[in-house]
Amino acid sequence: MLRIEGLKVCFGKEPILNGVDLQVEKGESVAIIGESGAGKTTLGLSIMGLLNGNAQGTVDLDGLNILSLAEGEIRRVRGSRISMAFQSSRNQLNPSHRIIDQVAEPIIAHRKNGKNEAHTRASAMLVKLGLSSEKFSHYPHQLSGGEQQRVLLAMALAGDPELVILDEPISSLDAASRIEVTAFLQKALVGRMAILVTHDFSTAAKLASMIATLYGGRIIECGPTQEMLSHPRHPYTRALIRSYPNMTTTKDLQGIKGRMERDVSGCAFHPRCTQAVALCREEVPSLSAHNGRWVACHRGGLLTALSAHNLSKSFGKLKAVDGASLTLEHGETLALVGESGSGKTTLARMIVGILKADTGEVFVEGERVDQRGKNFHRAVQMVFQNPGEALSHRLTVLEAVREPLEIQGVGSKADRDKMAMRVIDEVELPTTKAFLDEYPHHLSGGELQRVNIARALVLNPKVLIADEPTAFLDSSVKAKIMKLLLNLQENRGLTILFITHDIAVARKVSDRIAVMREGKIVEEGSVREVMENPLNPYTRRLIEAASDLDSERMP
């Protein structure tokens, strides 16, 4: 068993790792995920004992503290009990030796076998990794990057180590070779401890049983692979998954706001976090269990921004909404999909409070909303369907965007103007005097919708309910508005309830989909689950009827 406790690494004065705790059981492989510069490779190197006293803490391999070993003792461990496959981009191979000799070297060095036998084992290993035998006597420069990487993997595994550290094991391979090498590694890692250092979630999903997210020199989230990937709990892990192109999620890629900074007080992620509070600035959160997941976050991971329970509304005999419940996590987009008349808008209006619900409750960040006062309106805002109608024809752009601030009595007039201008700029509209003084009937549909979005954002809401925000726009403008909403989500951590009848749009912009029919939520799940395996026949019909570019397929 490998046990890492309080591992700290400094290069000069700069801290790279700030206290990493990690355990790897026999037969388990842990993927360390993080952005470049997060300290992933440093972690690997310190386990190898390659950091020459820059590392402090404990790295304990079955009772052997690697950090306290003398160089001679470490050498006996390295290559036989622990080995590391480096990223091939770093010219890790010796240019003056044939590759077969390099792969056989650890076996010979640790005198596990004689030279001939070592060569036999080395070639077997290389063959398994898909390298043809005529290349065994080549020198590294004669090999391609992908081939070099295979050689490095062969070297790491040739010594039959207990613990193998793989640093981006397949990053320089082409797609087809990835499958081959991944399949090999899956077999090769059985019965060993493995630490997989990667920024590639796909590799982690296939090779690791656990994932640990590294940020700012600490592990900030750790849990079983599939759970981590489908339900990340730390905002950073989710943001990383969102920015990773893959075939599983269909939502447009989103980045993470800001950049990684070192020497941040408190939680290292707080400058980029959209749900940070004062405590996050002051204190480092410890890794603790929240609902079966290890998360280092003062707020217990992602918050539930908004939830609605059992909302109902009847108009006379018509049950417009019949016991609908929704939950929105901080910073996610939930698409509410359904045909016209299914009660989507009524549900949204009840949440915002324009309509009074017959039954049901609404919670904002876990607190029940009894009366919709200032706090509620500042937390939840709505963008209406028809951008032209939703703005009063008598108010100029600036006046319209300022209106919520006036109603809520925020700041002085100058403050309000400044705040309004800032959101107008944020929705990518000009802040020239001429534009601010325009009346709605002089604006295009796209501009109108941006003004509407700016107006909804001016109170800094946490949740934005967007009711068919693109229904009245042509497709190019539609795309721009959707992009804008995604960017706002990235930068502000906005939670979006996106109401649409178009499942094709929902698929591109949301994390989850809820399907509504005749006032009831008939299906809810991640976009992928709903799209690939719709359980309700109605959902299936909606998917079949959605737009495609296929001339054969008929709804």
């Binding site: 324009i354 919709r372 200032k374 309106h377 709505m382 209406f384 703005l391 009063s392 024809h393 109603i407």
Partner: protein
């Protein structure tokens, strides 16, 4: 729908003509003391005189100067017309708006009262009222206002009902706006164009009613008005005096009513955008 009053008025040529006529009448009414040669109610022994330098339109049966009466008569017509219009429009707007916003039983009661007032022939009530009270100018204004608000109330209610469901009102509610804020900041200004049109027609109704009552001889005979002049002149229409006694107030009254109708006509597209010319719609 953004209403530019000047644009609406110039859109239809008559609109500007109407404003010019009413303007001229108003100037005449305001500067009556300067224009009049004599005290309009001063009775002299020179009755039925033909127009002369001293009496531009001659004198009437009790020797009063007709020109002076004509000039002062404009005051009565316009005062009654505009004031009763202001009052009846306000009453109509308040009742209509409150009925739409409060709804329920109150709405039903108000609307039944409106129905009743629409059925009642106003002029007959006025005749009855006129017979009981000696209706001076102020009483007249009050009666006309109280009998003329119902159409306005009905239109305002209908419009408010539609306004309060408009998305921009919903939007303001979603920012936490109070009913008071919604009313004075959104609903009243949005009703503006409709109130304007309603006001114009109420002015016309007021002037018409005042003249009608005077013509029927129900108004206070001491109040100088065009209607009263017509009423008096008609009794002597076998003489040639009608040419300068009957025609000037008749023409002035007709012109004023036509002018107001023209203004109202110019504003009509505000109520019904289908009446807008295509060029305008394209803008």
């Amino acid at each position: 729908m953004h209403v530019d009053i000047r644009k609406e008025l110039t859109q239809i040529k008559g609109g500007m003509a109407g404003v010019a006529i009413i303007g001229a009448m108003a100037v005449m009414a305001i500067s009556a003391p300067l224009l009049a040669q004599h005290d309009p109610s001063l009775q002299t022994r020179f009755a039925f005189e033909s127009p002369s330098v001293d009496h531009w339109l001659g004198t009437n049966h009790v020797g009063q100067d007709i020109w002076s009466q004509f000039v002062y008569g404009a005051r009565t017509s316009l005062l009654v017309g505009f004031l009763s219009a202001i009052f009846s429009t306000c009453i109509g707007a308040l009742l209509g708006m409150s009925a739409a916003l409060i709804g329920g039983l109150y709405d039903r009661i108000v609307m039944r009262v409106v129905d009743a007032f629409i059925v009642i022939p106003a002029i007959i009530i006025l005749v009855v009222l006129g017979a009981y009270f000696e209706p001076g100018v102020w009483n007249l204004i009050i009666f006309i206002s109280l009998l003329g608000w119902q159409w306005g109330a009905r239109i305002v209610r209908a419009q408010t009902l539609s306004l309060k469901e408009r998305p921009h009102i919903s939007a303001a509610r979603s920012f936490g706006a109070s009913p008071f804020y919604l009313t004075y900041r959104h609903i009243v200004p949005d009703l503006g164009p409709i109130l304007l049109v309603e006001f114009v027609y109420a002015v016309r109704r007021g002037i018409f009613m005042e003249a009608g009552l005077a013509f029927l001889g129900i108004a206070d005979p001491n109040v100088i008005s065009w209607g009263m002049m017509i009423h008096d002149a008609l009794q002597y229409c076998y003489m040639s005096v009608w040419r300068w006694w009957l025609i000037p107030p008749g023409v002035a009254l007709s012109l004023t009513i036509v002018a107001i109708t023209l203004i109202g006509y110019a504003f009509e597209p505000v109520l019904d955008p289908r009446l807008r010319s295509e060029v305008d719609a394209a803008n």
